[in-house]
């Protein structure tokens, strides 16, 4: 009885110490945490966790630690729509997602509609990995922010760096997956031809992750006799393509977007040597402090999509630092406005938001697979060595005319 009274007194004391009951900021990760895309979805979630850990270590936001809730969309847009409703019910303020443009398309529409119907209770969508042009084009809206590159940014940087290194050649083959991302890549490869001084000698769009045997495609590539194959393929579609090319003894260079997906380098082995990647970040390109701290906290060097997710959280952290709701209700519109005005100096260069379409202006790192790099990949002796860091101002493309963003009045 006595101890109960003590607890009661203690809790009253604790309640008095904290100024009323503050609203915590809630971040909902709606990610592919089961199913075929788990490997990527898990990494996005890890990046968010790392970023939020630092926000909370520095006092959280609004007098409370920032809460992170993980929702498993099971790799589909139906699951994502369902989990978005759940997140709304749980009072989530910010939704984060990255794996798959199809799912991002669903979430961004859901967010837009939710915000129309619930003025004053808007939700922000921080897109950390979905690169479809439409998301900052016809689907753009004020509460969507894209903290990653897009196809033209990657291709332009890739072409520039490969040309400067003398590895591009004059004949380029475009091989991509037949959906929004692959089509964006193909369009970007065609558009970059005059700048890169090459001719597109062949174009293929193929089914996404359905093809087990890429040797017929290799035969097709060989017929066109290119110097370089530029591809936006990811996962098995990239790995199988590279292996089939290596097995056939075909000497072409690959310019890729997702070669750093874990497991790729180990599986491709020597075949991967000399191939290029254009990416948001490379451990060897930036200040090593970030990579080392990430390893200390998470147990491994930042991988694949983790860095860009962390940078998005760092930008959010800077934006939040400008705001103070004094423990009251959280106004996400103010957070969105603050995000627009935030520039985060990432280890590879500044990242800022373009107000017209909420695409981030960010540096693109082009790297090459070499032997004995500073940060070996997948426990092999191979890894990436940065070739050049293309600054944001050079990598960015004009705002798409299809984006008609309605700003909050």
């Amino acid at each position: 009885m006595k101890s109960l009274a003590a607890v009661a007194i203690l809790s009253v004391g604790a309640a008095l110490a904290v100024p009323a009951h503050a609203d915590p900021l809630k971040i909902g990760i709606i990610e592919s945490l089961s199913g075929a895309q788990t490997s990527t979805g898990r990494l996005f979630a890890a990046g968010v966790q790392y970023g939020v850990k630092d926000i909370n270590a520095k006092g959280g936001f609004n007098g409370e630690p920032v809460e992170v809730v993980e929702y498993d969309n099971a790799g589909g847009s139906t699951g994502a729509a369902d989990k978005f409703k759940q997140a709304v019910a749980d009072g989530v303020n910010i939704v984060v997602q990255g794996a798959s443009s199809a799912i991002a398309g669903q979430i961004t529409e859901d967010v837009r509609k939710h915000n129309l119907r619930n003025p004053g209770k808007e939700i922000i969508f921080i897109n950390v990995g979905a690169e479809a042009m439409a998301l900052t084009g016809e689907k753009c809206h004020f509460y969507h922010f894209r903290y990653t590159t897009t196809a033209p940014m990657r291709v332009n940087a890739l072409v520039k760096a490969m040309k400067a290194a003398g590895d591009l050649g004059t004949r380029v083959y475009s091989l991509n997956q037949n959906y929004s991302w692959g089509q964006d890549m193909q369009a970007a490869i065609e558009a970059a031809a005059p700048m890169g001084g090459y001719k597109v000698v062949g174009e293929v769009l193929h089914d996404v992750n359905k093809i087990q045997d890429f040797s017929p495609f290799v035969a097709k590539i060989k017929e066109a006799n290119p110097d370089t194959v530029i591809t936006g393929n990811w996962s098995n579609d990239l790995l199988l393509l590279m292996k089939a090319t290596g097995d056939a003894g075909l000497k072409v260079r690959f310019g890729t977007a997702f070669l750093d997906q874990p497991g790729n380098i180990a599986n491709a082995g020597e075949t991967a040597l000399g191939h290029y990647i254009a990416n948001n970040y490379d451990n060897a390109a930036g200040d090593a402090a970030f990579a080392e701290d990430y390893k200390k906290v998470m147990g491994h060097y930042p991988l694949f999509v983790e860095p860009q997710t962390v940078f998005a959280m760092k930008s959010l952290q800077l934006a939040l630092a400008k705001l103070d709701f004094h423990g009251g209700a959280i106004d996400t519109t103010k957070i969105a406005l603050a995000l627009e005005d935030t520039t985060y100096d990432s280890p590879v260069g500044p990242i800022s938001v373009r107000k017209a379409d909420h695409q981030t202006i960010r540096p693109v790192v082009v790297s090459k697979v070499v032997k004995d790099p500073k940060y070996p990949a997948d426990g092999t002796d191979l890894g990436f060595a940065p070739v050049s860091v293309v600054p944001g101002a050079e990598a960015i493309y004009p705002v798409q005319s299809s984006c008609e963003m309605k700003r909050p009045s």
């Binding site: 293929v204 193929h206 992750n209 087990q212 017929p216 017929e223 497991g263």
Partner: protein, 313 residues
């Protein structure tokens, strides 16, 4: 000519790989009447077991032991799970094996992680068997084809020429009669299921070293393997072989074909008009090569519902 020869070669080998994986499925369906949804999971399991063993006892030993391990798993699944629900009919068997497939996938992720593991063929197998039109043809592809052919021959002879084959076939046709003649039918079923699983395991152990071994490999091949079995005729071993080769050849040739509906209109001089319409008109065959097996399945089901070599029951 170059295109035809290379495409044929690629198609045949890919077809044989498909056969290697679907042989066990056909066997299990043909001899037990169980549509095993978890079949591709046994294929994945084979690759992972072989990967684990290859780092301990070497590649070849891994290749031999992996099918045994997977076969054992198959025996246990039949003995303790399938047998209990056999009396409730096909729907229950389907649901059970479907659930197993999901469980196997998550188990593999739990123990081996989400990323592809580094299961590689030994370096002394990594060489070009021959060169066609300036392209190296990897020896390992021929090896995959050889294993598949050997598998077909052994299975075919076993079922049609030996006493074991007679018992197994009798157990499928007239179980009660076979039982009355003194054969242990549950044991026969258990062995058939185990053998089917072991075949998938061997397929996985062989193919996993060539294709990446990852937690999605069951999902990726699972559907296509069913297409093979349906096109070939459920339960027909020869049908499966023919269907695999057909699918392999069709997919391989389709990649090189840049025809679209618009090129059909070219024949009557309406090509430019059709191209200006875009959309379906300009979609090339090569961009939908992954869909061809399914189109083939549709056509076969419409024309011959029992499959190419299946028997109407």
């Amino acid at each position: 000519m170059e295109f035809a020869i290379i495409s044929a070669l690629n198609g045949v080998i890919y077809g044989l790989l498909l056969f290697m994986v679907s042989a066990g499925l056909t066997l299990i369906f043909g001899m037990m009447g169980v549509l095993n949804f978890a079949h591709a999971s046994f294929y994945m399991l084979g690759a992972y077991v072989a990967y684990t063993l290859s780092s301990l006892v070497g590649f070849w030993a891994g290749l031999l032991v992996a099918p045994l391990v997977v076969g054992l798993v198959g025996l246990l699944v039949e003995r303790y799970l399938l047998r209990r629900i056999h009396a409730f009919g096909h729907a229950h068997e389907l649901l059970l094996t479907f659930g197993l497939a999901l469980i196997f996938e998550e188990l593999v992720k739990l123990f081996y992680g989400d990323f592809p593991v580094n299961y590689q063929m030994p370096d002394n197998l990594r060489f070009a068997a021959f060169t066609v039109f300036g392209t190296d043809y990897p020896f390992y592809r021929l090896f995959i084809g050889g294993v598949a052919l050997a598998m077909f021959l052994v299975l075919y002879l076993l079922l049609s020429r030996t006493r074991i084959g007679i018992v197994v076939r009798a157990a499928e046709r007239l179980p009660s009669m076979a039982e009355a003649l003194g054969h242990n039918i549950p044991l026969v079923f258990m062995s058939v299921f185990g053998a089917g699983a072991a075949l998938a395991g061997l397929g996985g152990a062989v193919a996993g070293a060539f294709f990446p071994t990852n937690p999605n490999m069951a999902l990726e091949l699972g559907v296509i393997v069913f297409v093979v079995v349906v096109v070939g005729g459920l339960g027909s071993l020869k049908g499966s072989l023919v269907a695999s080769l057909l699918i392999g050849l069709f997919s391989s040739f389709a990649v090189g074909i840049d025809w679209s509906l618009a090129s059909l209109f070219d024949l009557v001089g309406l090509g430019p008009w059709a191209r200006s319409l875009g959309g379906l008109m300009t979609m090339t065959v090569s961009s939908i090569s992954g869909t061809i097996p399914f189109v083939l399945m549709l056509v076969v089901l419409l024309v011959r519902p029992a499959g190419l070599m299946g028997e109407r029951s």
